[in-house]
Amino acid sequence: MQNANGKLQIVKSKALVVAVAGLLAMGIAGAWAAGGGDVREKKQGLHPPIVVPKEGQCVRPTEWMRRNHMDLLQHHKVDTVRKGVRVKKESFDNCRTCHTKRGEFCDRCHAYAAVKMDCFDCHNYPK
């Protein structure tokens, strides 16, 4: 049980860090939101600030998207390519209508989280 205990502690400490960082981020985000046009920079968690649309909502709740956008894409990939189910709203190509530049959005987070992916080799997404 040593293990499980250790894991639990890690989970706890992670939550703490996230909570503190979240509070911090809210402050910073507020500061950022003061300037800018239809986009704002936003700092969430530990990653560098990302640019998000000033208004409107993501295709799913933000909190959910932050954690699960890869599952959404993965699932859509299978559905669309193999079954021919085309849901325009949540499609990969639709992300760029709001998150217009991947360099300011996807790439910043991924660089921080050391996520490597080859999607943009094929999928059009302005940098």
């Binding site: 049980m1 390519v81 189910v85 085309r86 080799d121 059009n124």
Partner: protein, 247 residues
């Protein structure tokens, strides 16, 4: 460690797991709400009237390259053409050459799908043979097995800036995967005609007819039923869904 704490931990872990599962379940529950996807009641196919196909006309080839952003590597060795024009001539003196387009035949028994080790090549429910570019490992066994020379490997990454242009909804090429004509599946799903068919009609030839071969009302099905059509290498038993008239 006493039992109580163990139970507590187990409980906590399962709650956590359940919490994590919930969004996943939501993803799966949402799919298909506003689209049913490919239907097995359909069989997309094409009828090509060779007599209407003009010598030297490459409207279909160009439209295809534009729609699907086929990169031009400038080398015949590695260039990609999903549809190509060929000249066929009997081996007798003075025989006249006939010009016709060749493309993926979207076989009912696709040899490429049978040999693909990961199932990246597959036949969709409505009969279109596709490559799932996300699953292809680039082994090229399908190219070896295709009797129609319809598949190509992407030999290198196309120039990014150049490939960005054109139709933004169509992904670019990624090196190392295999691909072939997909009947412009995005257009078909949106109820439109493949780019080559449109271009041929626009050029005034109307040699290509695309439609649902299982729908007796469609022009393609009517042509297959009433005229003398032929498939390429029908003797192999692949049952192509591209039919030729006047071959």
């Amino acid at each position: 460690m006493d039992t109580d704490r163990r139970t507590f931990l187990a409980l906590g872990a399962s709650c956590l797991a359940a919490g994590m599962m919930a969004p996943v379940i939501r993803v799966f529950a949402s799919a298909g709400a506003d689209a049913q996807g490919a239907s097995a009641a359909r069989r997309w196919g094409m009828v090509i009237d060779v007599n209407k196909c003009a010598d030297g006309c490459t409207a279909c080839v160009e439209a295809c390259a534009k729609e699907n952003k086929s990169p031009n590597f400038g080398e015949e060795r590695i260039n990609i053409q999903w549809i190509r024009k060929a000249e066929v001539k009997a081996k007798v003196p003075g025989a006249q050459a006939r010009s016709l387009p060749l493309l993926c035949n979207h076989c009912e028994n696709p040899p490429c799908a049978y040999v693909c080790p990961t199932g990246a090549t597959f036949k969709r429910d409505d009969g279109i043979v596709l490559v799932d570019k996300h699953r292809c490992i680039g082994c090229r066994y399908c190219i070896i097995s295709c009797p129609y020379n319809a598949r190509s490997l992407v030999f290198k990454q196309p120039d990014e800036v150049e490939a960005m242009g054109g139709n933004p909804d169509v992904p670019r090429r990624g090196k190392g995967v295999v691909e072939s004509c997909d009947f412009c599946v995005r257009r078909v799903d949106a109820g439109r005609q493949p780019a080559c068919v449109e271009a041929c009609a626009k050029a005034g030839h109307r040699a290509l007819v695309f439609g649902d071969l299982r729908d007796p009302g469609s022009e393609a099905a009517r042509l297959v039923a009433t005229s003398r059509t032929q498939t390429i290498r029908g003797d192999l038993g692949t049952q192509p869904k591209v039919h030729y008239m006047g071959l």
